[in-house]
Each structure stands twice: as structure tokens, then as C-alpha cells.
Amino acid sequence: MHDPTRDQALSHAETAELLPWLVNGSLADDDLHRVEAHLERCADCRREAARLERMARALAGRAEPVAPPRPDFAAVMAHIEAAESPGDGASGRRARPASGRSFAWLLAAQAAAVALLSVVLLWASAPGDVGAGFRTLARPAAAPALASAPRLRVVFEEQLTEVELRDLLLSVRGRVVAGPTPFGVYTVELASIDSGELAGVVDRLRRSGKVRFVETVVGQ
């Protein structure tokens, strides 16, 4: 029930304090009645409310400073998997069946691509093979110390072909050492580089348009 004595108790300062929420329309009924009662007899507060309303329209109508990032559930799951598995990529992970409807075919396609790539790399690195004198950029021999080689967790774009995946890995001197996880996360090991170069590689991958998510493995 409306209580006029409470209206009278609301001071000028208290009313002024609540005006931003009068303007945005969120005041609860009890506050609203008391503020309106004060406004009826206070010209200063009415002017202030009108001014705030104009300012609120300007503030609410501002354009986004930049377009918000597009929602990407795969990137979030990759982030979660990375956070929950601080060790190596996929080994020892609490793997669960993928429930995301959009991932099954992605996983199948990327698994096939990586399988193909693995065959290529195994063939190329076989001892005494005809390619012994030929060294690809992705071969471990190019990296002096595998133990110190930085690792990335990567989710590739869904449409990536095996050829594009191979070219991308070669361009950053990387090789797949684990994955995919149920959400399509691969662990990619790079040739030994310094931290500045690592940041550059991560940036290049992000800008390539061929990965949905990339981050360095914790501790790198």
C-alpha cells in the first residue's frame, strides 16, 4: 500500500541518486513512487531527470567500438580442455564422447587429414629411405631440442583440406604430436624458437583464417 509519509522522507539527495535508474526504467515500485512524489514538487530534479534522459539516450545509442567476436563454442571448449589438462595435449585427458552436433564430421575430416599427414611425415622420416637427403621443414631434425620445443593447442577451421593443413604446419615449422581431442583440439609442436618468434607464429596462425583457436601450452 502506498505510504505518503515515506514519500516525504525521501530527500532531494536520495532522489537525485536514483535518477539514473528512473531514466533506465528499472526502479522497483516502492522507489518509483517515492521518486515520482519528489519530482512533483522539485523542479531541479525534473530538469536533472530530463538531462539524464538525453545523456542516457546518447550513451545507449553508441555504436560498438568494434564488432563483438563471433560466438565460437569450439574455441571455448578448446580453452576449457587446455585449462583442465595442463600437461601434454590429449594424453591422459578425461575424454568423453562429443555431444556437439557440429563436431562429428569436423573430427572425422580432420582425423583423416592428420592421418594422411602422419603417413607423409612417417614416410619422409623413415631411416635410410630414398628421401634421406631431403629434409622438410617439419622434420624433427630441424629442431635441436625437442624437449624445449614450444607447443600450441589448435582447432583448425572446419573446411581445411589436408593439403592446406600440411602447408600451414610447414609454414610455421610445426608438427602434430597429439589430438584430436573430442572437440577437435590438436597439439602442435614447433621447432625451437624464442618467445618473440613464438608470439609471431601464434599471431600468424590467428590471422591465417585457417584456425579457429590457438594458444600456447601452459609453461611454454
Binding site: E17, L18, P20, W21, N24, G25, S26, L27, A28, R51, L52, R54, M55, A56, A58, L59, A60, R62, E64, P65, V66, A67, P68, P69, P71, F73, A75, V76, M77, H79, I80, A83, R96, A98, S99, G100
Partner: protein, 198 residues
């Protein structure tokens, strides 16, 4: 119950159901919850932080916290309030780490002796407001955006930011001083960020 309150209650009931499933590690429910909140959280973080690359990271951190914390949701607030509260903390953390780059403002709009607010062009006012927003503390800026852009009540903002309602009002009070100085076309040389009396 107001119609919008009824709609909010229905939304919250759906959110709670999803969150209960997320607590049981149901990834389909998590994806549904993500679809409901990703855009809202991203826009909020963007308003607060202003840098897309930071927003992407912060959004992932928020959803990680939701995934991990679903089982500990006490139910004392709406799910949306809980999630935006997480976003608030991640956003403020990110904002504190950033050295915010001031927005270039045409010099003439910041000079003393400008005409009153209503006589400034819309673009001059917008730039002036943007510049004033840049001078606010992360906490003040959050209150302004949650009020004017997202339309939350001061009680909801108190729940989101985890502070008393009087602190919310105080933050708004000092933010208003800055913004109104910009709105009237004058540059505020005060130190609103340090004036908070909470």
C-alpha cells in the same frame, strides 16, 4: 507480476535447468547456455574493455568459470546475474591490465568556452562522452554500462558487481559528474576515480 518480470522468470528457470545439467558435465547443455549468453557477455565485455582481442580471451575465461562453477551456483540470484558477475570480474581484471589508449577527440570539442551541450553536434557529444568514459575507473564504467546500455536496476548491479547498493550509487554519482561535464561540453579536470567514497 509485470510482463517483463514474468518473461525473466521463465528465462531464469530455463537457465537453471541448463546449469544443473552443466554441473553434471552435460556438454550439450553447456553449448545451449553458451548460445544464450555468448553474445550478451561479449558485448558487455566489449563495452567495458573496448578491445576485441581481449574480449575473446575474457569470454573464454568467463565460460570456463561457468563450466567449472556450475555445481557451486547457490541460486541466490538469477543465472544471468551470476554469469554477468563473472564477466564483470574478468572484465575489470582485463581492464586493469590494459593501458587504455585514449580516443582521439577533435581538439575544438574539449576547449573551454564551448557552447552548452544541446548546441554541440551529435558527433562532438559522442566523442566527448567516449573520452569521459575512458577516464572512469573500471568499476565506475561497469556501473554506467550496466545501467545505461543494459538497463539493469541498481540492486541487480549490486548483485553483479558483488558490492553494496550504496557503493553502486556512489560509483554512479562520481561517474555522472564526469559524464555530465562532458555532456555540457566542458572537460572535467577533476579526479573522479579517486573521489569515490565507498
Amino acid at each position: 507480476m509485470r510482463p517483463e518480470a514474468s518473461a525473466r522468470a521463465a528465462d531464469d528457470a530455463a537457465d537453471r535447468h541448463l546449469l544443473e545439467r552443466v554441473a553434471r558435465r552435460d556438454r550439450a547443455a553447456f553449448e545451449r547456455l553458451y548460445e544464450r549468453y555468448a553474445d550478451r557477455v561479449a558485448r558487455y565485455l566489449l563495452r567495458l574493455v573496448g578491445r576485441r582481442e581481449v574480449v575473446e580471451e575474457a569470454l573464454n575465461d568467463v565460460m570456463l568459470a561457468v563450466w567449472r562453477g556450475a555445481g557451486s551456483f547457490a541460486g541466490h540470484s538469477r543465472v544471468s546475474t551470476w554469469i554477468l558477475g563473472i564477466a564483470y570480474r574478468k572484465g575489470v581484471d582485463a581492464l586493469r591490465r590494459l593501458v587504455r589508449q585514449p580516443i582521439a577527440v577533435p581538439a575544438e570539442s574539449a576547449e573551454n568556452g564551448e557552447p552548452p551541450g544541446d548546441e554541440l553536434t551529435a558527433e562532438q557529444l559522442r566523442m566527448s562522452l567516449e573520452r569521459a568514459l575512458e577516464t572512469l575507473s573500471a568499476e565506475q564504467r561497469a556501473v554506467v554500462e550496466l545501467t545505461y546500455y543494459f538497463g539493469y536496476s541498481y540492486r541487480e548491479i549490486a548483485a553483479i558487481t558483488g558490492c553494496p547498493v550504496n557503493t553502486v550509487k556512489t560509483r554512479m554519482f562520481y561517474a555522472r559528474k564526469r559524464l555530465q561535464a562532458a555532456w555540457s561540453g566542458r572537460d572535467s579536470a577533476g579526479s573522479a576515480a579517486g573521489e569515490e567514497r565507498s
